[in-house]
């Protein structure tokens, strides 16, 4: 019995040390974000702030750093890309799972091959195409790239669709429903759990993406959360307490979403990995 308790203590110790390593890097940042300029310069990074409710830096970051506009831009990209991904992904999965047609094998293979090409390798050439389409420095470039290079969602939908009985379609067809009615009224609602998974993993990926807005939308007016935060480095380098506040503001939505949807996120991560 004694042995068992000692073992438990060791396990807790291991977990505590590991968790501390994960949390520690954020502590100086949170402390700094709540300090005034002189306090920031006079105190060490691990000294807690005098006033825990000094939100001045957050206000500066939100207004002068244009973070408000950045959240708006990211919001647009997120909503349009997510709706588009869901429509495109579910429609593709519907066509591939419910129809037998010539050329189906080729389509499946071309999607399969595309998963092998990591997006970051082809940016050099993709950039030229976006440029030729006159989409450089437009929101549409980001949206197109998020829609067009996402094959994992299609797989998630396809896998889930295979578990929806085909008898449902047949019954609807006998009742006179057309293919679009079947897709829209029967398949789409039943895909809800898969849609939730896709929204979570795709949503996090878009919110965190740096290189798409950085390379394709350098116009500060189109700045997303990532690129706007990146632009803090130059102008605010003399007041890191503001950069820290801005960083915390970017982390905050992730924290809220994570706490609310933890279970689904764990599930989404494992599903997305096994492509």
């Amino acid at each position: 019995m004694k042995n068992r308790n000692a073992f438990k203590v060791i396990l807790y110790l291991v977990l505590t040390v590991a968790s501390f390593a994960m949390v520690f890097p954020l502590i100086p940042l949170i402390f700094a974000s709540l300090k005034g300029a002189t306090e920031f310069n006079d105190t060490g990074p691990l000294t807690p702030p005098k006033n825990w409710f000094n939100f001045h830096n957050f206000a500066v970051a939100w207004t002068q750093g244009n973070l408000a506009h950045a959240f708006f831009n990211t919001g647009i990209l997120l909503s349009v890309s997510l709706v588009g991904t869901i429509l495109i992904g579910t429609m593709t999965a519907y066509a591939l799972d419910r129809f037998d047609f010539k050329g189906k094998k080729i389509i499946v293979w071309s999607f399969l091959i595309a998963t092998l090409v990591p997006g970051v390798t082809t940016q050099v050439a993709t950039f030229q195409i976006i440029n030729k389409l006159n989409l450089y420095n437009t929101r549409l470039s980001g949206i197109l790239l998020y829609l067009g290079t996402d094959i994992i969602s299609i797989y998630i939908f396809l896998q889930f669709m295979q578990s929806i009985p085909k008898a449902l379609d047949e019954a609807a067809r006998i009742d006179g429903a057309g293919h679009f009615t079947i897709y829209f009224r029967i398949i789409l609602p039943l895909l809800r759990p898969a849609i939730a998974t896709v929204i979570i993993i795709k949503g996090i990926a878009i919110y965190n993406d740096f290189y798409t807005p950085f390379l394709y939308m350098p116009d500060p007016n189109l700045g997303t959360v990532s690129t706007s935060l990146y632009r803090f480095i130059g102008p605010f380098s003399a007041s890191w307490q503001v950069i820290c506040a801005a960083t915390f503001l970017v982390i905050l939505p992730t924290l809220v979403v994570f706490l609310a949807l933890q279970k689904y996120i764990y599930k989404g991560l494992s599903t997305g990995a096994v492509k």
Binding site: M22, Y94, A95, P118, T126, F210, C244, T254
Partner: protein, 297 residues
């Protein structure tokens, strides 16, 4: 009825037209163009471009600045292996179902979900010091722990910078490995553990003979993916340091060659080499895990 059948030949094309078009435009066309550009000296703007044969590919292995980036990826690969070992250990501990395990799990996984720029700034601030700005959080912690002699320029010293960055990479990605490993451990038949307890097998034996074989595949898969992952590192070293102090990775070199130096031809050959490495790694992975492929047709 025949009419209905022909109709069903055409309907699906209506559903797949857009994704197929995007796939062709944004994945296949760039890959083809990349090969075409890679044998030219194109600058990305000039309407003309000259054929230069394989000379761009030669530069990948002769230009010391580009060749050096391949060594940088070794740090990340080493980091990835450490990360897999830590994750395996932590996932095993979490699988014992201790009280509060979920709380610890969320702390370990949370960093994986964070924005790349936010992570970069968190660590730029943590690592600061040595540049007249006063000590960073890490230095102060080390001093408190009596380890002050280890204080160094975490990102300013070219001999240290890639260790620091590999450390950041572990911090960022370990949670993902933990989720995968924990999922694999929890899908092991619980009867095996019950039988082991009846046989009075200790924790180590349970780990060695039940857990380890149960997660062998996902571990091997993680190691294989670490190879391509460590060459494709981009955002953290780029955002934190712009690739300075010897932290330039292969992808940073590619992006800079194309977008800052305007040498699209050379950058394309770098991208082709990277694609080749990734395809090779995937090929090895598919060969080793043939029986695990999901049949989609």
């Amino acid at each position: 009825m025949i009419k209905e059948r022909t109709k069903r030949q055409f309907i699906p094309w209506f559903y797949v037209a857009i994704p197929l078009g995007l796939l062709a435009l944004l994945t296949f066309l760039p890959v083809i163009n990349m090969f075409r550009y890679s044998v030219t000296n194109w600058d990305g703007v000039d309407p003309t471009r000259q054929y230069v044969g394989m000379s761009n590919y030669g530069k990948v292995f002769t230009d010391p600045e580009i060749f050096h980036t391949l060594f940088v990826s070794i740090y990340y690969f080493g980091g990835a292996i450490l990360q897999i070992i830590f994750a395996l250990f932590l996932a095993t501990v979490l699988s014992y179902g201790l009280r509060g395990a979920n709380f610890y799990k969320s702390l370990l996984v949370f960093p994986f979900l964070l924005n790349a720029v936010a992570v970069s700034l968190v660590f730029r601030f943590l690592f600061r010091g040595g540049d007249g700005l006063g000590p960073g959080g890490l230095d102060v912690l080390l001093q408190h722990l009596g380890l002050g002699r280890f204080v160094t320029q975490w990102t300013g010293n070219p001999h240290v910078v890639n260790f620091s960055l590999a450390g950041v990479s572990i911090w960022r990605y370990i949670g993902f490995n933990i989720v995968l490993f924990l999922g694999a451990i929890q899908s092991i038949n619980p009867e095996l553990f019950e039988a082991a307890q009846l046989d009075r097998a200790n924790r180590w034996h349970q780990f060695r003979y039940i857990i380890l074989p149960g997660i062998r595949r996902i571990t091997a898969l993680s190691v294989i993916l670490a190879v391509s992952g460590s060459i494709a590192v981009f955002d953290i070293p780029y955002i934190m340091l712009g690739g300075a102090n010897g932290s330039t990775t292969f992808v940073i070199a590619t992006v800079k060659t194309a977008f800052n130096l305007g040498r699209v031809g050379l950058a394309s050959s770098l991208a082709v080499v990277l694609l080749g490495i990734v395809l090779l790694v995937t090929f090895v992975q598919r060969t080793l895990f043939k029986d695990e492929q999901v049949d989609l047709v």
